[in-house]
């Protein structure tokens, strides 16, 4: 199996399967976005620049040896946390949420960076711990996860917060969290659910969950998104209405068509068949990640590949689950497809690191 492109004097670390499939999905995403934005060329050009830039970043980040990431993981996390605090102070407030840091040339959603930095740091922290992970390490890890979750959640951004939280938990679980601890905490969570509901969730979040449970409550209120999304998907039928012919998106019935609900646009215009084709690309990417994780050179690489690919899977899971009306509406973009710079770039970064972990072999095994 080729894992790098050999040139005369140097070699580029490269995974053609991931690179090609991600490029294809990204390019398809540009076409979908063109339709979802009702033919807004500006949006598409901006997005193409991100995609091109992202692919380059992915390639660059594939080059360093995994040890580089292992050594500097705490630095990355510190930078990410500092940026989170900077956002808190200097951040740009949009619709009551402070999530963005204006860097002049680019508006960065800092939580997207911490989403990557946290699992890498945890992998570097846990890779040499004995199995099962001791209670002390478990609690230390959990404390860090909760702290970072709270940073994101308080922006407020429940969706990304959950992904960050899940990312941390995945690493902990994959690294060998003891089953005893898992069962105990499950019991604890079930008992404390009413408390979380009452004192932790904002009224609008409760409303979203209630709406999700019974969408017919108010078709033009909070359930409008879900209702219109289902109409868009359903009216696509088996083969779709055809590219640019989706009335739900083009006539503005579908809210957030360019971002969170772009899956509904695709379903409307390309039908069930189009969805199957698109999802098969995503499944291929995930299967490739599982394969790479199994063949990684050491525990750190395994954990990182597993954790980062699971972030990807979770994001996809939340996004599609929300759009097809199975999960509550929490803002969550579709990876590589939805409009938006930070989340798009974060996945190129993640896959760049995954490729780095997968392609570098240790020269000497002791």
């Amino acid at each position: 199996m080729r894992k790098k492109l050999e040139f005369k004097n140097f070699s580029i670390y490269f995974d053609q399967y991931l690179f090609i499939s991600i490029t294809l999905v990204s390019v398809m995403g540009l076409f979908f976005l063109y339709s979802a934005s009702q033919g807004n060329l500006n949006t598409v050009i901006k997005q193409s620049i991100y995609v091109g830039f992202g692919l380059v970043i992915m390639l660059i980040l594939s080059q360093p040896d995994p040890d580089f990431y292992k050594i500097f993981s705490s630095l990355f996390l510190l930078i990410a946390i500092s940026l989170m605090f900077a956002t808190m102070i200097f951040g740009k407030e949009i619709n009551g949420a402070k999530r963005w840091l204006n860097l002049g040339f680019f508006t960065l959603q800092t939580s997207e960076l911490i989403k990557i930095a946290l699992p890498i740091f945890l992998a570097s922290y846990l890779y040499n711990k004995k199995l099962p992970i001791s209670l002390r390490h478990t609690l230390q890890t959990l404390l860090l996860i909760c702290f970072i979750f709270y940073l994101v959640y308080s922006q407020p951004d429940l969706g990304t917060g959950l992904v960050v939280f899940m990312a941390g938990i995945y690493i902990l679980f994959l690294a060998g969290l003891s089953w005893k601890f898992i069962l105990t905490s499950f019991g604890f969570i079930i008992l404390s659910t009413p408390f979380i509901w009452n004192s932790f969730l904002e009224p609008f979040q409760r409303q979203r969950i209630l709406t999700f449970i019974n969408p017919s409550n108010d078709p033009y209120g909070s359930a409008w998104n879900i209702t219109q999304s289902k109409i868009a998907i359903g009216s696509g039928g088996m083969s779709g209405k055809g590219y640019l012919d989706g009335s739900q998106a083009n006539l503005n019935f579908l809210p957030e068509a360019e971002t969170d609900f772009i899956f509904a646009v695709i379903a409307e215009e390309f039908g069930f068949l189009g969805i199957c084709i698109l999802l098969s690309f995503f499944f291929f990417i995930l299967l490739r990640c599982i394969y790479l994780a199994f063949n990684a050179r050491d525990r750190f690489c395994r954990l990182t590949i597993g954790g980062l690919s699971l972030i990807f899977a979770s994001t996809l899971f939340i996004n599609i689950g929300m759009v097809v009306g199975i999960m509550p509406v929490v803002g969550m973009p579709m990876p590589f497809i939805s409009k938006g710079g930070s989340s798009l770039l974060s996945f190129y970064i993640a896959f760049g690191i995954i490729i780095s972990m997968a392609t570098h072999k240790k020269l000497m095994q002791k």
Binding site: I231, G234, M238, L316, F317, I320, G321, V324
Partner: protein, 612 residues
């Protein structure tokens, strides 16, 4: 340094755990895919419909109401166009400069300017039209049309008003249109499987429905069918493309049997007195004249009337809205006598030679009660012929006295009394043909022989409408042949019915006609004053409806001081004899004399109808 065993254990645990997590995702995605499949494929139709409903907006298009003609093809009710200046706000960038350019050509007052400015943004955002000025004059229209190239987003559109060319002549016959109640509209639209939605109006008054008269009874035909425009709309409800246009089907024109000239003669003759005139074309049962006076202008009612003017109409003691022709109840009085005479002949109670002595009164044998005639001292020897000519009460009292009440009622009912005699009249009253059962149920008194005697001269409980009297008149003219009355002649609907009789021959009918001609022609006829007015030989029977019963002429003089106590004047007539074509009935409230007050109206109408 991690030992190999530990390494192996760790690797295995990692694989297991990764598989566990990915299995969860596998199942979840399989479920999502299944979910997508069920929405897209299993429930496709439902969602397809929902998407279609989302993006389409249907707008109704109002049809134009049919025109109403008289029997010679002259237009009675028409749709008169008015011209409105309309703009498309979504196309106009700067409304202020647009209006200032426009006001150089067309005067816009401050109300109109305010209206445009207030509604401009809303109409623009929904891509709707906006009326800038209503009812443009010809000069304004011409001025605009010449310069219309300067205003590509403005145009002149036609809106109609319902207009009666003879607003006071046909107030009750044609009636008027007015606004539609919500229930009525829902009902009208549901007949077309439509719902109440935004509508493009052809009438400046919006939805309308026939409220009275022919406008009401033929509303379904006149109205037409609504068309439908289907637009594509976006989520904001803005109209985009027109996708489909089902044109409205305009209402059918109604060709009535009414005769404008005769109606005008009747109207002039009545001269705003309270009463009614109905004339019938005998062969077909067609109503050619239908007038109730005093009347009112239907145009004012249809197209807007000030509330003070409207209240004045409602409070008017002469009740102009009241349709006396088909809803006014009057005793037929002496006009009933020909029917009573026919009844006597049919039942062999009398023949043409049967003679009685008329002392001027009739004494009921049962209780010695006296029933008086109109002439003191009576008419001497009286047979049926003379009894009709001089209108002898005594003759008909004694004839009725010998009659079986049930047989008599049954016979009278054949002439349309107590029944609806019109196919398409608006809310006709049936009058009252009293029976012993009716009396005991309503008045709590048994039927006296005296009631039967009173019936013989058309007084008492019997009451009829002018419409019924005209129908009755046409049956007499047509020798027992009858046709239900109507405003619109439909060959297929009309079937002559005959009054079945065993003992009445054509000769009897001719003798009856002869007697009724005598009412005018004979020097002793009750309507002999009409001799000089008529242009043709006319048969008639006059009547005088007593409102207050008086014993002597002196008593009547006292009570007539109050106009409301005076007798109603009433007449039925038909001609030209011997082959009558038209039958007419006239009632003039408190007119006192059937022959000399109601008679001239009847003769004038007949003259107008026959003298063509």
């Amino acid at each position: 340094m991690i030992d190999l065993d530990q390494r192996y254990k760790e690797k295995k645990s990692f694989f297991n755990r990764l598989i566990i997590v990915y299995s969860f995702f596998g199942i979840a995605f399989a479920f999502f895919l299944y979910r997508t499949y069920s929405i897209q494929v299993s429930e496709y139709t439902e969602y397809e419909t929902a998407a279609l409903e989302n993006k389409t907006k249907e707008v109704l298009v109002q049809p134009i109401r049919g025109i109403i003609y008289d029997r010679s093809g002259k237009i009675i009710v028409n749709n008169v166009p008015t011209y409105d200046l309309i703009i498309k706000p979504s196309q106009i960038k700067n409304i202020d400069s647009f209006l200032s350019d426009l006001s150089l050509i067309i005067d816009l007052n401050s109300n109109e300017l305010d209206y445009v400015k207030e509604n401009f943004d809303l109409k623009a955002s929904y891509n709707r039209e906006l009326v800038v000025k209503k009812n443009l004059s010809e000069i304004e229209t011409a001025k605009f049309e010449v310069r219309s190239y300067k205003f590509p987003h403005a145009f002149i559109d036609v809106r109609y008003s319902r207009y009666n060319n003879y607003p006071k002549l046909f107030s009750h016959a044609i009636g008027y249109v007015g606004g539609v109640s919500n229930d009525e509209l829902t009902n009208i639209l549901s007949n077309q499987n439509l719902q109440q939605i935004e509508t493009i109006f052809k009438y400046s008054n919006g939805f309308q429905i026939g409220k009275t008269g022919i406008e009401n009874t033929y509303d379904n035909l006149l109205r037409g069918k609504f068309g439908k425009k289907t637009y594509e709309v976006d989520a904001r409800g803005r109209l985009l493309d027109e996708m489909q246009f089902i044109k409205p089907i305009d209402g059918k024109n109604i060709f009535t049997t009414l005769d404008i000239d005769a109606q005008k003669v009747a109207y002039d003759q009545m001269d705003n007195r309270r009463g009614a005139v109905v004339a019938i074309e005998i062969d077909t049962g067609s109503i050619v004249t239908y007038l109730s006076t005093p009347s009112f202008s239907t145009n004012a009612i249809s197209n807007g009337i000030s509330s003070s003017a409207f209240n004045a109409l409602i409070k008017d003691n002469n009740k102009p809205f009241f349709d006396r022709a088909s809803q006014g109840r009057y005793s037929p009085a002496s006009t009933i006598k020909p029917a009573i005479g026919l009844f006597g002949l049919e039942n062999n109670i009398i023949d043409w030679n049967f003679t009685i002595d008329d002392p001027g009164y009739f004494i009921l044998p049962e209780d010695q009660r006296v029933y008086r005639g109109w002439r003191e001292g009576g008419h001497g020897k009286v047979n049926l012929n003379k009894a009709i000519i001089v209108s002898s009460n005594t003759f008909f009292f004694s004839l009725a006295y010998q009659s079986d009440i049930y047989k008599l009622i049954d016979y009278l009912s054949k002439f349309g009394f107590g029944a609806n005699v019109c196919v398409d009249c608006f809310n006709p009253d049936k009058g009252l043909l009293p029976t012993p059962e009716w009396k005991i149920n309503n008045l709590n008194f048994g039927w006296f022989k005296g009631d039967t005697v009173n019936l013989g001269v058309g007084q008492g409980y019997l009451s009829t409408t002018p419409l019924q009297l005209a129908y009755y008149s046409s049956i007499l003219a047509n020798m027992g042949k009858s046709n239900k009355l109507s405003f619109v002649y439909d060959k297929n609907e009309k079937k002559n019915t005959y009054i079945q009789s065993e003992n009445i021959s054509n000769l009897d009918w001719k003798k009856l006609h002869h007697s009724m001609i005598g009412v005018i022609e004979s020097p002793i006829g009750t309507a002999k004053r009409l001799q000089e007015l008529k242009k043709f030989t006319v048969a008639a029977k006059s009547g005088t409806v007593e409102l207050v019963s008086t014993e002597t002429k002196e008593d009547y003089k006292i009570i007539r001081e109050n106009e409301g106590n005076r007798d109603h004047a009433i007449i039925i007539a038909f001609g030209p004899m011997p082959n009558p074509k038209y039958a007419v009935s006239v009632v003039i409230e408190n007119g006192e004399s059937g022959g000399s007050v109601a008679g001239p109206v009847a003769i004038a109408v007949l003259n107008s109808l026959i003298d063509r």
